[in-house]
Amino acid sequence: MQKPIEAKGQQMSYHNPTTPPRKSATFDDYTLAEIRRAAATGIYDIRGGGTKRKVPHFDDLLFLGASISRYPLEGYREKCDTSVVLGTRFAKKPIELKIPITIAGMSFGALSGNAKEALGRGATLAGTSTTTGDGGMTNEERGHSEKLVYQYLPSRYGMNPKDLRRADAIEVVVGQGAKPGGGGMLLGQKISDRVAQMRNLPKGIDQRSACRHPDWTGPDDLEIKILELREITDWEKPIYVKVGGARPYYDTALAVKAGADVVVLDGMQGGTAATQDVFIENVGMPTLACIRPAVQALQDLGMHRKVQLIVSGGIRSGADVAKALALGADVVSIGTAALVAIGDNDPHWEEEYQKLGSTAGAYDDWHEGKDPAGITTQDPELAKRLDPVLAGRRLANYLKVMTLEAQTIARACGKNKLHNLEPEDLCALTMEAAAMAQVPLAGTSWYPGKGGF
């Protein structure tokens, strides 16, 4: 029992009535758990996916729609073109996509063979391209992908001129949104015999790829590297340059200067197979903040629509597609959403996610190779759970729905082509989104950075 404290003139007590326990906003449960985890294991947290923090995003933008000042087009009846051609600047064989949505680079190694096949099948059914990853091209994905983009990465695992020639485009990867400035990572659990053989690595090691290309640094070297790749492939293939969302204005301008046909810009919501959580959550810019500076760079150089811009990182719906295109992108790319479409994090496997200490929708330990859905794994038993034909169909459905959604919005804005959407068609719900997208705050004619406040 606490002894009462004497105070001048009256009695005070430390015997307080019970108050609700209050947790620190700074040291919240997640933070505390991370401190304990680091102390217990001696290693930083590694996980898959993109940033989980809330950042300004396409949800913070709305379309205005048509009214008296502009008229809408009939849904289903009046045409709204969705096709796009990539590589019109220098490539002898540009690629035409039926829809402005592509599948982002994900490696065989990070994903199972069946998952890669499903992505190829789905993309092909929907009339679009898919992309290899850090680990080379497999015959299966080449076979199942009508249009395949071959990534040219710092590690150069499995890189060879035959695959360059049988690719439909080449993507020089400088960085990605989940980890601008970081290299690839594939931990021992996923270095199976075949993955080890393709990457020329000892089986079971923790593979940490280089973050810089081994034979060039900077924009002047990149220009010569692109020349070499064009010469090797007889100037046939569109050459993309992929950057993480860091300094989009300058990165885009320098990629154009170096001779890119296409710039791929990946914001921080873009996923990774495995990277340090501290990197995913603290490096890079939100996708929404990247688009306008990149488009500005293209416009300043007179190259908008001549060098195509592919935007990725957190694209989930036709609304996101339409908003990215309205801000000036030519194409969007999906990774995480494509995995979800084929079955990643599906509640069907909830019991097994629970056994792994997670829950459907939150499972991100992709590096461990224990994915119950059989997608981010090299375990043949788990991989068998994914039927590539069915999963491919699901992806095709999803891609087609997104396209139809985007068309629905575009028609409502009076556009007979998705690419005719423009910033004019948008307003912002928050000051942050208004500033990043450079579209007016809803109900005003103003956004931060514009004069006349």
């Binding site: 020329n200 070499e228 007889d234 100037w235």
Partner: protein, 228 residues
Amino acid sequence: MPVFDLSQTPLRELNSALHNLGSGANDTAFEVINPRGSHAVAVGIDSPVTVEVRGSVGYYCAGMNDGGTITVHGSAGPGVAENMMSGTVVIEGDASQYAGATGQGGLLVIKGNAASRCGISMKGIDIVVHGSIGHMSAFMGQSGHLVVLGDAGEALGDSLYEAKLFVRGTVKSLGADCVEKAMKPKHLEKLAELLERAGVTDVRPEEFKRYGSARKLYNFNIDNAEAY
């Protein structure tokens, strides 16, 4: 014997001719004159042609060579024979940075010196340097052999995987996880073969020391963090 004068003919015509030899073509001895430091000379060769380059070249000469024999009668800029698959590339002079980067096969012979990052990320290529090599050579080397008759610069073999390194002279320093290893008879035998293929006749394999991976960084351990 097709001769390409790069002071008159665009680079594109040279590489296009090298890529478009019909099957059964027998006029496969090419000569390139006046390269004048051009980049991407004789890249993407995919058949057993020979190319004699009379003069010095810029970046990525013989890049991704797959089966050709390319000789540069001069010096080579950065990334010579990068990602070579098979065949032979000989540089009569010196080579700049990243010579043989990520090469997966074939033989690269540099008769002069090679600058930094020689054999970076090598994946099966054999490289023989008659002179010395610069810093960070064989960084992250995965497989293949790097033979140096002269000296090696700082941080040789940093973060090495399974590439085998042989140096006859001094090594300024070894990179993280690279150690000197015992020279066994099979290594002497391999070395003798490589020296012979590289046209080295006056040097014995016994004069070299062998370096390789200590394999301590293969799986992550927080107490090794200072090594990175």
